[in-house]
């Protein structure tokens, strides 16, 4: 985080940047942080979810099909947060 603050302070202190350039620099330097932070929660969530699904399948192999479908559903819902983070990354970096 201090790197982000450092970049922001440098950009703000320098007077020879136009507003658009300053926005570009700040956006590019915060894009990585935005995606990194957005990936933490879904990463933990998907790991826990798949771990529990594997456990369920190991305990009851006959219900593996149903567990798998439910697992994919859960992954899809959890993963959406990380993907919105990725879209935010693209927006910060390139738009």
């Amino acid at each position: 985080m201090s790197a982000l603050a450092h970049t922001a302070a440098t950009v703000l202190a320098a007077t020879d940047y136009t507003a658009a350039e300053a926005k570009g620099i700040a956006g590019a330097s915060s894009a990585g942080f935005a995606y990194g932070l957005a990936a933490i929660g879904p990463g933990i969530g998907i790991g826990y979810l798949v771990g529990q699904a594997v456990q369920a399948m190991a305990r009851q192999p006959e219900s593996a099909g149903q567990v798998q479908t439910t697992m994919f559903l859960g992954i899809a819902f959890t993963e959406a947060l990380a993907l919105i983070g990725f879209v935010v990354f693209i927006l910060l970096k390139f738009v």
Binding site: S2, H6, A76, F86
Partner: protein, 276 residues
């Protein structure tokens, strides 16, 4: 954190030094315009402008139609060859998508879900097909239209089977204390009618775009590092990664089509029986 900064600074210096050895430049990533702006193959600027994405979408529409036409033209009781494959795909959608998400009465939605799976899957698979290397669903327009189809579909099914009571049961879930409706109803409205189609579209779009950018990154690394410099040793790492990710994206292409159809089925199932 300060140590990290110094490390990053050192790495940047090393990378700059290394790139100067090849006459400057370093790793040149293609600009983002390459996946945002597509020149038209013909009819530039007019209503009939037709670019690569439109071509891939047309292929993704025509190929399944032809496959099902030829599979069903001389349908026999004991399926052979093509008919066998297509029946297996219908069976997959029935067993993996409809039965767990809707139940037996969901079989009437089989044509729509199968069409969705095939359109999304074939559009996605062009991500790893040489000479194309672009998934049609990495443009927001395609996932958005598909998500709006699903949105209209599940609201339509809900209204058809439950009348306007569908909105009542969706917005005012039973068994909640009266005062809490102030809190619950706006949340339910947002999550059911706005966030559902949005997340459905963004899930497909961002997955395919991320996969495309991932493959581009490793391809660019492989191309740039190729030469008589010590950096060519990195190729030993980056090229197997490119191959592995190509295989991974081939899997993701199908998984996203499956998940899109599964979520559509879940939403339709929820609209059919809003009490659950």
């Amino acid at each position: 954190m300060l140590g990290l900064q110094t490390l990053v600074g050192n790495l940047t210096n090393i990378a700059l030094l290394a790139s100067e050895g090849e006459g400057g430049g370093g790793v040149q990533f293609p600009p983002i315009e390459n996946i945002v702006k597509w020149p038209a193959l013909f009819g530039e600027g007019s209503f009939y402008a037709f670019n690569k994405i439109a071509l891939i979408s047309m292929i993704a529409m025509i190929v399944p139609a032809l496959l099902f036409y030829f599979a069903g033209r001389k349908a026999s009781l004991v399926p052979k060859k093509l008919q066998n494959i297509m029946e297996a795909s219908l069976d997959f959608v029935e067993k993996q998508v409809i039965m767990p998400a809707i139940g037996p009465e969901g079989m009437r939605y089989l044509p729509m879900l199968v069409a969705m799976v095939f359109f999304i899957w074939i559009g996605n698979v062009f991500e790893v097909i040489p000479t194309s290397h672009m998934p049609a669903n990495a443009r927001m327009a395609n996932p958005l239209m598909l998500a709006m189809t699903a949105w209209v579909m599940f609201i339509g099914v809900g209204v058809k089977h439950n009348g306007l009571g569908y909105f009542k049961s969706a917005l005012f879930p039973p068994g909640v204390p009266k005062a809490l409706y102030l809190l619950v109803t706006p949340i339910e409205f947002l999550s059911t009618f706005l966030i559902r189609p949005f997340s459905l579209a963004v899930r497909l779009f961002a997955n395919m775009l991320a996969g495309h950018i991932l493959l581009v990154t490793f391809s660019v690394l492989c191309i740039t590092l190729w030469g008589f410099t010590p950096l060519v040793l990195v190729e030993l790492l980056s090229f197997p990664m490119l191959v592995a990710f190509t295989g991974f994206e081939f899997m993701v292409a199908f998984l996203q089509a499956f998940i899109f159809a599964l979520l559509t089925a879940v939403y339709i199932g929820g609209a059919l029986h809003p009490e659950h």
